[in-house]
Symmetry: C2
Subunit: 267 residues, 2 copies
């Protein structure tokens, strides 16, 4: 393979799924970060699992240097954990950690809402309303993926409405750590779904009335509900997993891929 060439690098990060990702270069680094985040969030790298440096190098056709730079950044972001002389592992999210993350994310979203009430233009609010109606339509047709996409767009629009880039970036960073957990509970019981829609109804109403306190409190509760749903899912999954593990065997020595999402984590 030709060694020196800073051109575009086409990388197949397919193993389970056959997605092909174009690493934008110049700063190979940036694209690499995105790709790694994708791998983690998409579940190709399970929580607690060792990050296979050499293998990833091969997969991305890059040397260890840029990969290790990226890993250091991900570690700083909290997505992976770096153990001295023992490499990187994907960060696990135990219950308390998840709770803390949701708490802070909730704070930021609520305050973003407060700021949005004061700072968004009428036109911008109208756009959010439009998103809301479109989302509602997808709900009626039970089109889950489209629903989720618009749901997220609405939250993002409110966040952007805070007009505080630091707030937005901080939120993104924290939210990035729970993407995987959210991903898992992308199935909704109909009653939960309806409840979420109702909450969104209230959110829109508060935003339109520019009632900052009310919007903040609704957003906060809305997220708390989402958190409960997610945790419920995790616990269900954990229980299921435990039963399976038990029935299959009493113990396995060193699980290379431990309990998947929640883990005691001797931190």
């Amino acid at each position: 393979m030709d060694r020196r060439k800073r051109g575009a690098v086409v990388v197949s990060l397919a193993q389970t799924k056959s997605s092909v990702v174009q690493l934008r270069t110049g700063s190979l680094h940036g694209g690499l970060l995105e790709a790694l985040r994708e791998l983690i969030n998409h579940g190709d790298l399970s929580p607690g699992a060792r990050v296979p440096e050499r293998e990833l190098c091969a997969r991305f056709s890059i040397s260890r240097t840029p990969l290790r730079e990226a890993l250091k950044v991900l570690a700083a972001e909290g997505l992976i954990q770096l153990l001295p002389n023992r490499g990187a592992r994907v960060a696990t999210l135990d219950d308390s950690h998840l709770t803390e993350l949701f708490e802070v994310i909730g704070i930021l979203e609520a305050e973003a809402g407060r700021l949005a009430c004061a700072r968004m233009s009428d036109a911008a609010i109208a756009e959010v309303q439009a998103l809301h109606y479109r989302m509602y339509a997808h709900f009626l047709r039970e089109e889950l993926p489209e629903y989720f996409a618009l749901n997220q767009a609405i939250h993002q629009a409110i966040l952007d409405g805070s007009a505080n880039t630091v707030l937005i970036a901080t939120y993104r960073n924290l939210a990035g750590r729970i993407v995987r957990a959210r991903y898992m509970s992308n199935r909704l019981r109909p009653d939960r779904w309806k409840a979420a829609i109702d909450e969104h109804e209230l959110i829109l109403e508060a935003l339109v009335r520019r009632d900052a306190d009310r919007l903040a409190s609704i957003l906060s509760r809305h997220l708390a509900n989402k958190r409960d749903i997610i945790m419920e899912h995790i616990h269900e999954e954990l229980r299921g997993r435990m039963e399976k593990t038990k029935s299959r065997q009493q113990r396995m020595s060193h699980a290379e891929t431990p309990p998947a999402v929640a883990e005691p984590a001797a931190e």
Copy 2:
């Protein structure tokens, strides 16, 4: 120089000041990060200035690999800016950015206070009170450095009282970006100083009464005041700098060290 040896590395980062820093190793990386942050916050690396990779390598007696890893992390933290193929520069803080940072930091501190009211033990609150009295004593004796140290300790204690490690870490990250700006305005006009003390009085009172709303609002205002002081200082300094620059010469071509703290920053 001996090449391979992972033992402790003693590094003299003295140039202007003769501070000697011990880089704890094993993960050379961590200590390096600290040292670099110190360099930036302490002002040895002015905002906007190029980060002299090779020179820092020499100064720390390390190769470029770990240094560059550290730079990537600092960039992710927002302390420096990485320009593709053009190296790193120390991040500049323009007015709006500083305002945004203070806004988010204020949010976090206020909410931390709210949580602290609910979660701190009576004993922990008593300790904060003790810190407060000690701080007050230093104020009376006009011992500025000791005053600042205890001031910070009190804010940290309240933050810790939130019992949310994510919140604490997020706060630390954001606060880390304005350390330098705070550093500059470590001179206080007596009236400001007294006002700050009064606010701290109120903070303690609210905390002791576990009045979450009140504590949150006071903390928020307290920080806003600090922000105003800092910005005032920056603007004064900027004005002074401009006059000097003007009187000295009409223009200089490419300032290697631009306006120091505030800069238009074509971001």
